[in-house]
């Protein structure tokens, strides 16, 4: 077995999980400053949307993007009915999204039952330097990178992206220039939710969907986004690379527990050395 390749794979896989669970949060918290404690449950909704879509007969490659659209729509619904009344009221958002997270776990358990469910990818395994890995995990790694690049391109190169960034930085100015900022907030929250839902759907074939799965991801997502610092996308990317590398290497070389603890220890040391996050010293940007 090619040890170097095995390590590279472990790191890439771990990195892709970090990117998937935190990219939506990078938009919703990183850009919009909404502390969404229901973020884990949005991942869960994406996973269930994927399960439902494939239960009605859609193939996986269609079910995954559709799950993103569905959770995006749910996100817009949540933004219009709850979040929009709470911009600037950080505490209330915290409480409302915690309530939302409890509610979503409860409603999904009631409808779908407590058991986990999944959709098989049926891609089998591929050999990487002598190691059999699920072929689907390569799809996941690719999907995570595509989502990251797509989001970057949207914000950076389109006029919509420019308006969104402008609105997030200075809503009064944007409003004065004729932007309907309320719509922009709605769109951005919906987009962040869609990314989160897409991530949940991508996780399904290997990790399944269960009502309480959000709890496994929420803390990691916040740690990655916050320690990334004020540049939401670049910060999340660099934090995910760092944590993915540590988790991948230590988990394979020693054990999963040590991998997880090492990530958290590094997060502390890093915040101590860079008190404003990884991108804290850079000029404000994406």
């Amino acid at each position: 077995m090619d040890t170097l390749l095995v390590y590279a794979y472990q790191v890439a896989f771990s990195f892709s999980i970090f990117i998937l669970i935190s990219l939506g949060l990078a938009v919703i918290f990183g850009m919009m400053k909404v502390i969404n404690l229901a973020q884990g449950e949005f991942i869960m909704l994406g996973a269930y949307a994927c399960v439902v879509c494939s239960a009605v007969g859609l193939p996986l490659w269609l079910a995954v993007p559709l799950a993103g659209v569905i959770v995006g729509a749910i996100g817009i619904l949540v933004e219009r009915t709850v979040i929009r009344f709470l911009y600037g009221r950080v505490l209330d958002t915290l409480l409302a999204t915690w309530g939302l997270s409890l509610f979503l776990v409860g409603i999904v358990t009631t409808i779908a039952g407590p058991q986990s469910q999944s959709v098989p990818a049926d891609l089998g395994g591929v050999s990487l330097g002598g190691l059999q890995v699920p072929a689907y995990s390569l799809v996941m790694i690719g999907g995570a990178c595509a989502m990251l690049l797509g989001t970057y391109a949207l914000w950076r190169f389109t006029s919509l992206g420019l308006i969104v960034r402008g609105t997030m930085q200075n809503p009064e100015m944007a409003r004065a220039l004729g932007t309907n900022t309320s719509m922009i907030y709605m769109f951005t929250f919906g987009f962040g939710s869609a990314l989160t839902g897409l991530a949940g759907a991508l996780l399904v074939p290997l990790f399944g969907a269960a009502p309480t799965m959000g709890l496994f991801y929420i803390a990691k997502a916040f740690i990655a986004v916050i320690s990334g610092g004020p540049w939401p996308l670049l910060g999340t990317l660099s934090a995910s690379s760092l944590y993915g590398t540590i988790d991948g290497v230590i988990s394979y070389a020693f054990s999963s527990v040590l991998g997880e603890i090492a990530v958290l220890l590094v997060a502390i040391v890093m915040l101590r050395l860079l008190p404003q996050g990884i991108t804290g010293r850079l000029r404000k940007g994406l």
């Binding site: 409860g106 009631t110 058991q115 995990s137 290997l206």
Partner: protein, 413 residues
């Protein structure tokens, strides 16, 4: 909260059921008698509810059946349900409430060992009686406690020789959930494997919230065992079976498990992901005996559900039936009388004969070895009749030490 059967069925998806509606009681001529009270504390809400939802219904069914058949000692049973929401603090509050305010004659329930260890001292303090309907790591020695689930000794005594000798699983690799059950089970596994001349290549403990098994799968491919022993538990660990199927596959490495099917794991996987996994359990739906078929039919009629019930569900029914039989033998529901009547109390149940071992207050039962077929069902391999709780018997003798309340850890050399 009391509901009619129809309301029960309607609510069964998420609502709470319960049991012993006035109508049944008056039909059986029990409405005027003073009820015998039973508390059932389980996790309807929260991460542990995969183990509780069937069991709470099975206990309710057992109570309703007894009431419809004329009650217990001519008195109706009143069942009080508490949803502890996967939170040990609530177990503490509800157990106290059940004994002090509701004055119950027995508490059933608890899923995890930690919830049981919260309940036991409270039952001790207020001189109640407690029935724990769950498989666990063994070793509890307590007169006020009755365990009706499997312990590692009786389960592995059947499973390991079959896998090592007959399937040729000489080299084993053990994956266990990182808590007491996983640690103790893996020690017993190692002992049984070595005693049979096999080899245990490694033991790995996986925290209950870890779902990324890529490092584990890579290490398995390094070690190349004949068989992977899984004592994995809970929703996050389900992804092991998925990731294993997508890479190594059961054609290249056998999978045997002490926990699989008990939390209804096979229902959650695709048929291909689960096919070929070898299990040992005291009850599974495909058992095929008339008693099992009858139980499954009654449960389906009672709840309106048709999906897999499994050991956690059935053991709730089993626990209530064993306790009720002990009450009959004692002629009284009072804890002291019931405890004296426990030894030798036997009930013919869905999984076979269940007999209480009075030395340990554990249950002697049949252990069934089965393998998952291509259709999410289980193919019966062999039944080991009347396996006693051998591990707990090594350390516990309630006849000699009736005041013992310890949970022993069996020293394994």
């Amino acid at each position: 909260m009391k509901l009619s059967r129809r309301q029960f069925t309607k609510l069964a998806g998420g609502g709470l059921a319960f049991a012993s509606l006035p109508l049944t009681l008056s039909k059986a001529g029990l409405a005027s008698e003073e009820p015998i009270k039973v508390a059932n504390i389980l996790d309807q809400t929260g991460g542990l509810n995969i183990y509780s939802l069937k069991q709470m219904k099975a206990v309710a069914m057992a109570v309703d059946e007894i009431n419809a058949a004329g009650g217990l000692l001519g008195r109706p049973i009143e069942l009080i349900f508490y949803d502890a929401q996967s939170n040990n603090q609530l177990y503490s509050q509800y157990a106290t409430q059940a004994l002090l305010r509701d004055q119950v004659h027995a508490i059933h329930g608890g899923v995890t060992s930690s919830s049981r260890e919260v309940i036991r001292p409270i039952v001790q303090r207020f001189q109640g009686f407690y029935v724990y309907n769950s498989l666990y790591e063994g070793g509890v020695c307590d007169r006020r406690h009755l365990s009706t689930g499997m312990v590692p000794g009786q389960q592995l005594d059947a499973l390991v020789p079959y896998v090592v000798n007959e399937l040729g699983g000489k080299k084993g690799y053990i994956l266990a959930a990182d808590y007491n059950y996983g640690h103790i089970t893996s020690k017993w596994l190692q002992k049984y494997i070595r005693d049979l001349g096999g080899e245990d290549l490694a033991v790995e403990f996986i925290p209950l919230d870890v779902s990324n098994f890529a490092p584990v799968i890579a290490r398995l491919q390094d070690a190349k065992p004949d068989v992977v022993w899984s004592a994995l538990v809970g929703a996050a660990h389900m992804s092991f079976y998925r990731q294993f199927h997508a890479t190594i596959g059961k054609d290249n490495m056998m999978l045997a498990s002490t926990t699989y099917s008990i939390g209804r794991e096979h229902v959650e996987l695709t048929p291909e992901e689960g096919e070929g996994i070898v299990i040992a359990t005291s009850f599974y739906d495909g058992l095929g005996t008339p008693a099992a078929e009858d139980f499954i039919q009654r449960f389906h009629d009672y709840t309106g559900e048709t999906d897999y019930i499994g050991e956690y569900g059935e053991s709730g029914y089993r626990g209530l039936a064993l306790w009720a039989e002990a009450v009959r033998r004692a002629g009284s529901p009072e804890p002291e009388a019931v405890m004296d009547a426990l030894g030798g109390t036997a009930v013919e149940g869905a999984g076979g004969l269940y007999t209480i071992d009075g030395q340990t207050n554990h249950t002697t039962m049949n252990i069934h070895i089965a393998v998952q077929d291509a259709d999410r069902g289980f193919q019966a391999i062999r039944t080991f009749e009347q396996q006693p709780p051998v591990d707990t018997q090594l350390v516990c003798n309630l006849y000699e030490n009736p005041n013992d309340t310890t949970q022993y850890v069996v020293e394994i050399d």
